[in-house]
């Protein structure tokens, strides 16, 4: 699966794109591939906060329902409402149209603990081999 340069990755298969004061969060191509076709996305409310490694929503496919954990802490400033009508965006465009929330990070240092693209690619390979 595709892994993009310039993004940070969590071991629970979410990505973060940090631009200025905004961090965009979604699930990786690898994660959507394992879930299969997404049929429903449960999203948080606007103006709530998320904490690192805590669930902020869930993605339902016909195979599984998976909690989505936030890779970083912060205030939610925008939620991708398009996913409610078109959950398949997570499959067709996991890094672009399928983004889930935009957050104002409360402790940007948390980003340092996440994986880079090379590290994440290796992580996925190892995880697949273990199963």
């Amino acid at each position: 699966s595709t892994v993009l340069e310039g993004l940070k990755y969590a071991n629970s298969h979410e990505w973060v794109k940090h631009e200025g004061s905004v961090a965009t969060i979604g699930i990786t191509a690898h994660a959507q591939d394992h879930l299969g076709e997404v049929v429903f996305v449960e999203l948080p409310e606007d103006n709530t906060s998320v904490s690192k490694e805590k669930s902020f929503g869930a993605v339902e496919s016909v195979k599984a329902t998976s909690e989505i954990l936030s890779p970083i802490s912060g205030e939610i400033i925008e939620v991708n409402k398009k996913l409610t009508e078109s959950p398949g965006l997570i499959n067709s465009s996991p890094y672009e149209d399928g983004w889930m929330i935009k957050v104002k990070p409360s402790s940007p240092a948390e980003l340092e603990s996440l994986m880079g693209p090379k590290e994440y690619t290796k992580f996925c390979e190892e995880e697949d081999a273990a199963h």
Partner: protein
Amino acid sequence: ISVDAVKPSDTFPRRHNSATPDEQTHMAKFCGFDHIDSLIDATVPKSIRLDSMKFSKFDAGLTESQMIQHMVDLASKNKVFKSFIGMGYYNTHVPTVILRNIMENPAWYTQYTPYQAEISQGRLESLLNFQTVITDLTGLPMSNASLLDEGTAAAEAMAMCNNILKGKKKTFVIASNCHPQTIDVCKTRADGFDLKVVTSDLKDIDYSSGDVCGVLVQYPGTEGEVLDYAEFVKNAHANGVKVVMATDLLALTVLKPPGEFGADIVVGSAQRFGVPMGYGGPHAAFLATSQEYKRMMPGRIIGISVDSSGKQALRMAMQTREQHIRRDKATSNICTAQALLANMAAMYAVYHGPAGLKSIAQRVHGLAGIFSLGLNKLGVAEVQELPFFDTVKIKCSDAHAIADAASKSEINLRVVDSTTITASFDETTTLDDVDKLFKVFASGKPVPFTAESLAPEVQNSIPSSLTRESPYLTHPIFNMYHTEHELLRYIHKLQSKDLSLCHSMIPLGSCTMKLNATTEMMPVTWPSFTDIHPFAPVEQAQGYQEMFENLGDLLCTITGFDSFSLQPNAGAAGEYAGLMVIRAYHMSRGDHHRNVCIIPVSAHGTNPASAAMCGMKIITVGTDAKGNINIEEVRKAAEANKDNLAALMVTYPSTHGVYEEGIDEICNIIHENGGQVYMDGANMNAQVGLTSPGFIGADVCHLNLHKTFCIPHGGGGPGMGPIGVKNHLAPFLPSHPVIPTGGIPQPEKTAPLGAISAAPWGSALILPISYTYIAMMGSGGLTDASKIAILNANYMAKRLEKHYPVLFRGVNGTVAHEFIIDLRGFKNTAGIEPEDVAKRLMDYGFHGPTMSWPVPGTLMIEPTESESKAELDRFCDALISIREEIAQIEKGNADVQNNVLKGAPHPPSLLMADTWKKPYSREYAAFPAPWLRSSKFWPTTGRVDNVYGDRKLVCTLLPEEEQVAAAVSA
């Protein structure tokens, strides 16, 4: 003539246990053992092996005719009085065409839950009819396909209110006009969610605390009143409170529906739609809600989708919310539904249609009206002035005296308090019955009129503001099958689409799809069992009570426990009840802090869901490479939590189909650290007579009577999940607010935890099935059943191991009563997944085994003891043939995308179409095995698209013009 030659010829075990002694030896030898007993000795660990099992009754087993005679005797001890008790249970005329062709028909009652949609379109249609009945009558757009009973449906609605408000408001208000059993079940359930239940008179309900998540009211009320809830709902909503309304389907044919008041969730029971009272159940309860909350709805939901050729097809929707995937995050622990009873209720609506149902309702209302008018004329009692539908509330000077007089005329009334009586009328009430009631109330004075003579004077009691105006059941299905011929053919049309045990073995792992013998089923439809109200005086149900006592005693012997509760209505309900018993035990000792539950990762997903519902904190422990629970991890978890340990939940033999060696040690570890051991009885079929939960060291265990003890699966319910406990837990077993009950045999002390189900003994009507099974098998027959179930599984594993890897085995290389074959490798070698194999099995005339549980990418096979060697061989032959089809893909002889597995199943519409573009022949697609030539079960649709249906959720019948549109847009 020898004495043996003149003994009864109708013994039962040889009809149930399939393999003859010769076959047993042959099969054991095939597995590398000289005798079945040596195979069993190698399989069941010595340290937990019982020497023998002996019953105090029926030890040798009754013959089939002796059994029937015994049940006739019990039936004669039940006294069927005319019931006016109401309270959610009403007598009804079960249309005989439905009685014989659904309730007594194995083609409807032996099916499994419709997970394999392509061979289940018949009952899926019927369940969609059920959902449409519920949505039409309640006026809310989304309904599930049934819940266990009205009380638990209300408790599920309470949990939904809590979830909708994200657990931020912790009070749930229940109006005192709800049935007492509904209130009690909610109270029990609230405990685990840390919710506070406040019961309040309707007019005193107060939301000023700001802490209320929901309110439950009843419409019509338990004492009959029909109130206008319009302002009530507005006020609740203005305070941010969700409104749950418990209601009655027959009343809704003439009353303004709850949806039009703005109710958020509506619950109730479909019992009076042609399902007998049966001393408490089984019945189909329902839950309906708005579009907004549809994804929070518990239970199974049938939805519309399309198949591989774009035609409309049905399947279960949103399955991933189920606990086997979401575990402790699941919205509810409910698995089993009441499919058979939901189907009966739906067919009742199909048979009567909207006009027929309305005339039944008007007749019931008319009889209640005559009764009310007559009492007023007699002047002996005061009749409540509020509008009513079917229940008349009467104030009198001595309620008990009147109830006693009624009893002499074989009539049961409800005594609310010493001066209040209610009388509920139903479909079976006649003018004669009303005349008898007049006599009772007149207490010896002459009655100067007859019920018939009063009829012309009676006014409709329902005000126009509460009269139903919106149409219902307008779909053609409810308007075309009103003659018996038409309904008979509709029932047969649907059943012919569904694969059941009438066709072939259903080898679902962890489901124990064994024989549901005819003799076991017969008493279930006898009037002396069906027509008794659950709250009838116990003296009238002595036949039932004797059976409960005998059954409790037999189950105690089988499980090694001291007392049983028959109340829980399903396996998951049993898990919940058992954990609540453990919780009550800890609390009684002042150990309120004990709330940690250890659950192995291999557990059935309902385990963590049930534990979460009891407010327990779940700690997951792993398994080792052989699939066994990691004992060191259990020890560490138990020791680390020794001050707060409540329980361990463990399945035995394990969900991996293995008798784990260390089970007794695991139980010791938990006990040493202050915890209790909960055993999941799903795999009890591998224990009976060989070992027992009590002997192994468990403190409490539920039994799935619909697995090990022969209650048929009913196409997705009913089930039953009684729990057995050791002495120290017996005082806490569930009771009931109307008819006090507790453990059987009764313990010395009692401190019941509350009610778990709406009825005192759960689904009493189906207990004769398990009872007769045990009594006819005797201790020897039951022990043989366990042995043969193990033999059959080992025989199949042996036949299949050359073709598929068998995943887990015990220390001596054998499996328990079920086993797992590993298909994970085929994803890489041939692009094949377990679903492809399951769908291809349909072309061979079989239902697939359990798919991707407990290990993703595998199939779990459980043959049971009642399948013959010939049938086991046929199933193995099918799987071996499919393995060869996979090999053709691996070798490059068949296309990875377009092959006979990916194209499966192959319905006639696909095979007979003018064009055929597949790279394999139609003949091979349809007839891959020789037995199919003489008889073939045809799937009725191509592979059903789950994604399409889950993205566009439609859960009610579509008008015909929209069906076409759906097909085109697909």
